[in-house]
Structures are given as structure tokens and as C-alpha cells.
Symmetry: C2
Amino acid sequence: MTLTFKEPSTDKSELEDAGDFTPRFDDRGLITAVVTDIRDGALLMVAHMNAEALALTLQTGTAHYFSRSRGKIWKKGETSGNLQTVKEIRTDCDQDAIWLMVEVAGHDATCHTGRRSCFYRTVELEDGKAFVKIADDRRHFDPDQVYGH
Amino acid sequence: MTLTFKEPSTDKSELEDAGDFTPRFDDRGLITAVVTDIRDGALLMVAHMNAEALALTLQTGTAHYFSRSRGKIWKKGETSGNLQTVKEIRTDCDQDAIWLMVEVAGHDATCHTGRRSCFYRTVELEDGKAFVKIADDRRHFDPDQVYGH
């Protein structure tokens, strides 16, 4: 049976306390998920979940998201083998964000570019303009080979 | 002069490379910001920025967000003194999320409940229902005193 979630309380203090998990999906039915590596806390990715993806994640222990570009449930790593086993889940004070601490299978990579983390670039100001600079260029897999482009 | 951002390229490979920082704001004009502590990488909060908040953050080095509930720019810590000095900014592969590594002033607390992190609760399944349980209850300040409720 699919897990369902109760409606969030309008009472702020109830939302912030222990008790029912009542995720606050936005007007698109989505909640933000932050994903870190359980080993060292490295930030791997940020994604979105609808209620179905969140229920699947809780019930299977494997991270599922909602792909906004494809408009469907996305079992992370299904193609690349880089599945995420969820070791701990947290939520924030107003329950509108989820934090997954995961173990990454396969290539120990989360980004579709082959890098360990999607956050491989710094943002820097130079002469009043903002640039991105590559801070991590180590590829754990070849995207062309894995995704068959 | 306020910093402005170029329109994101529709070419995915251009978005993923080094070059101009072209943040991808959503249809509400917002981008997700993940905030960690520069000392130990602890996840402190998740918030949203509009272009103005992002520009202010880059130009002043102090974190600014856009409060969706109040509908305005929010200089984090302005009331509590828990300002965030931004030590490094990163963005992800498709430039629709921002990662701030910060130094927290004041009480060394980010959550309005007085806790260090907004993610003070775990989400757990029990008898097919999802609950939140408090994992960190240490208060660094008294919210009533600080916010004057």
C-alpha cells in the first residue's frame, strides 16, 4: 500500500515539533530534496520529489525523485547504476525540504556529467560580472558510454 | 550598480561548462539555495533567492534570501544577529541551485527555533506511517527573547 501523508497543520508550532510527518509540497506538488553522502557529508545534488517519489523513497530505501523536465518519477541511477541507498532522512523546521543522507552505488558518482557531485563549479565575481569556474573535473564514468549518446 | 545575470543558454553543454554564471530561476523567479557550515559541512538550511537576493549575496558577501511568506528580501540574521558570511558559492550542473558555504555569526545558530540547523528532526516509518522525531534539541538562543514574541 502506498504511503500517504497527512495535511500539514496551519499551526506553526505543531509543524516544528515531533509528531506526524506532514511534508509541505508547493503549488506544483513538489518538495525540495538535498542529497549528501553519508560518508563525509559532501553535497551531491538537489532535486525535487512529489508525494509518490517521497513515499517510494521512504518505503523502498532507494532514492526516487520527480523529474520536472521529463514530468515523471525518476529512480536515480536506474540507467547509470549509481543508485542511492538512503541511510537517514531529515526534514526542516517548516517541513518544506527533505535531506537525504545516502550511500551511492556504482561509480560513486551522482552527476550525469560523470563527476561525484553536481556542484563541481564555484561562482565568482570578476570585474563586476559573475562567472562559474570548474573546481572538480574528475570524471568517475564516461557519460557517452553510460547514457549512450 | 546591481549585478545582473545573463539569460541561461538553451544549449545544455554550455550550461554545464565554465563561463558566464547564468542562474536558472524558476517560473516564480526563484532559485533554491542550500546552506552549509564552512567549518564541518553541516547542512544548516534551505531557502530561496530571487535575482536581487542572489546579486546582494554575491556583492556584499552576506547571505540574502527571498522570503516567500513575507514576499520580500530577507537579510538572514538581521534580527537575531546570526548573519551568514559567505565563504564560497557553488552552483550545480544545470545552474538551478546554489550552494553557500557560510560562517555563522552570533549564536552559531541558523534555525528560528534556536537550534544550530533547521534539519533537527529525522523522518521515520513506523507501522506504515511517517513520523518526525527530534534528533537535536540543543537551543543556542531563546526565540521568545530574540524575536520578542
